[in-house]
Subunit: 348 residues, 2 copies
């Protein structure tokens, strides 16, 4: 792993009066925008929880509700496209609440001149991803903007899932003693996008990890693991997710570099590009916080349910001041901060 070069990653100066790309990057600048501007304007309890989904009571049932917009560039990339991403991204946010995803909405913002054949491909990807995740698209909207005022297609999906457990799966439920599981290797989605965008080729070809996390996430719950928190590792990567959870749970988190899988080709690309895999966006990876005595059992479940990646136990939660520390391969400790700006714009 190389050190993240924030200047390289965020070349534009941050102007306090207007939006810049780092406001969408998943790091501390985005968090500051959300906390200082968006949350105060709404000020509702459910948003205050700062989790991937809001959990709401309907009659006697509990539902999870979430939304995500997708502005990825390019629209088609190795391992997926904006359509599969738009379904899996929202489905995964629901699964991270332990909800069974049921229904999706789809809002399309099309740019004038966008090829209808490309729209067809994207719609078929959405359908295939929805079928794979067991969700139905039930409501939609289509808008068109003038040429030069959009970028092909932007997609928003919102999703509803049913919460069928009594666990409080949230950052605030994480406790000292918890073990942290990672569902597979890091960084593939970002490197696949980089290669598609910049015309870089890597030996063997790196494909996005874009996939539904519904089956492994719900298997943990169904088989009695007392899951404290789950988080999919999108914008900001593993590092930003852990920092946020450490802050919300007021705990210290330690992870071991040796236990965090990164493919050789992804690692090589990171060294060339000056990226740190810990901060790279993934679209088919998650971290789960479980009690120590259930960690091995949880790992077995993930290994059984995840065929194309190697889940591992990567660290633990301790008492102490809020901090995330990486124990490196050579035995030193490195403090992990939240991604500050924007590592790679429009990654999802």
């Amino acid at each position: 792993m190389t050190t993240l070069d924030f200047k390289l990653a965020c070349p534009r100066p941050i102007d306090g009066d207007s939006i810049n790309l780092s406001h969408g990057g998943g790091g501390s600048v985005m968090h500051k925008l959300i906390e200082s501007r968006i949350l105060p304007a709404f000020d509702t309890g459910a948003l205050g929880v700062r989790h991937d989904s809001a959990v709401l009571e309907v009659g006697g049932a509990r539902i999870a509700f979430t939304t995500d917009s997708f502005v990825i560039r390019p629209l088609f990339f190795p391992g997926g496209d904006i359509g599969s991403l738009a379904v899996n991204g929202t489905v995964n946010d629901l699964a991270m609440s332990g909800a069974t995803p049921k229904w999706l909405s789809c809002g399309l913002i099309l740019e004038e001149g966008f090829p209808i054949d490309d729209l067809d491909k994207i719609l078929h990807s959405m359908r295939a991803a929805a079928d794979a995740a067991g969700v139905s698209l039930v409501t939609g909207d289509t808008k068109v903007v003038d040429k030069g005022k959009g970028d092909g297609v932007f997609i928003n999906t919102a999703g509803i899932g049913i919460v069928e457990h009594d666990l409080a799966i949230a950052p605030g439920s994480v406790r000292p003693g918890d073990r942290i599981l990672l569902s597979g290797d890091l960084g593939r989605h970002t490197i696949a996008i980089m290669s598609a965008r910049e015309g870089l080729t890597f030996e063997g070809g790196v494909e996005s990890d874009c996939a539904s996390l519904v089956v492994p996430a719900l298997a943990l719950i169904r088989e009695g693991i007392d899951v404290h928190c789950m988080r999919d590792l999108t914008r900001g990567g593993l590092a930003s997710a852990l920092v946020e959870i450490s802050e919300a749970s007021k705990t210290r988190i330690t992870i071991d570099e040796d236990s965090i899988p990164v493919r050789e080709d992804v690692n090589g690309a990171c060294e060339i590009l000056g990226f740190d895999p810990l901060y790279l966006a993934n679209e088919g990876r998650f971290a789960a916080f479980v009690p120590e005595h259930q960690a091995e059992r949880a790992l077995e479940i993930l290994r059984r349910e995840i065929r194309d990646a190697e889940p591992s136990i990567i660290g633990r939660v301790e008492e102490g001041s809020q901090r995330v520390t990486l124990r490196t391969t050579i035995g030193t400790g490195r403090i992990i901060d939240m991604l500050s700006g924007e590592q790679l714009p429009r990654i999802c």
Copy 2:
């Protein structure tokens, strides 16, 4: 009223291979896109209903779920802004199903360089509109696109409402004999946008009718009116809504020009601009289909609940071939078609 000039309204040729602005216009070109491309790719029962919201079963309860993206230009206009529009638009779709709106999601797509002060104004408008409609914003997402790849801000909202009645409020429930109520005068939103966009000024100033329809729509249901269908009159206007309902219910619809209120200044603007008020988008008007024997009672309820407009009974449903006819002031009949292309791009 003047005749709609489609050439003026849709100046660009329609190219069969790529998206043009008429694909977002709410008329027959958009309907063809949805029917030929989007619905087949998803092919779910709920979308097949072609109503403003999907109605879904959760435990013992029924919820309505809907989504809408907002790409209006300009962002701020007389009588509202994209924020109030984004809340009212989705809340109204829920209310048209007879659902009590409860929760909204908010997906922001911001363009690099967008002033944060403007974002604040929009967020505060959203909050004020949400408070007025009795809904909570519970989940959100923020994305940023490069300068020149968006247009200030696009907003997607999805909404969940609770259905607390046993009526089947849908186009297919409309029956011969039904009376059609209109909640107020037509065309203000479109003329307000036109005036803001083109710098036109009209005597007195025309403000958008942008508002929540929750209170009058739910009052009809609560007070025992057997509502067969409700529809808010956005893109495509009253004309397109009636044509769609006539087709879905396989009935003939007749409306009386004399009974359809259009303000003098809006009518004047329409004559100058070559618009037909029947096709103009509104953001605070709806049509309700009710049984004949309850029509006067329903009108009383709307008159009591709507303070700033004059509801009226505008027509009736008859047996016969699917068709919408306008009886004009001079006693002739005019067949009303669905809006064909795009009357005014980016009206919502």
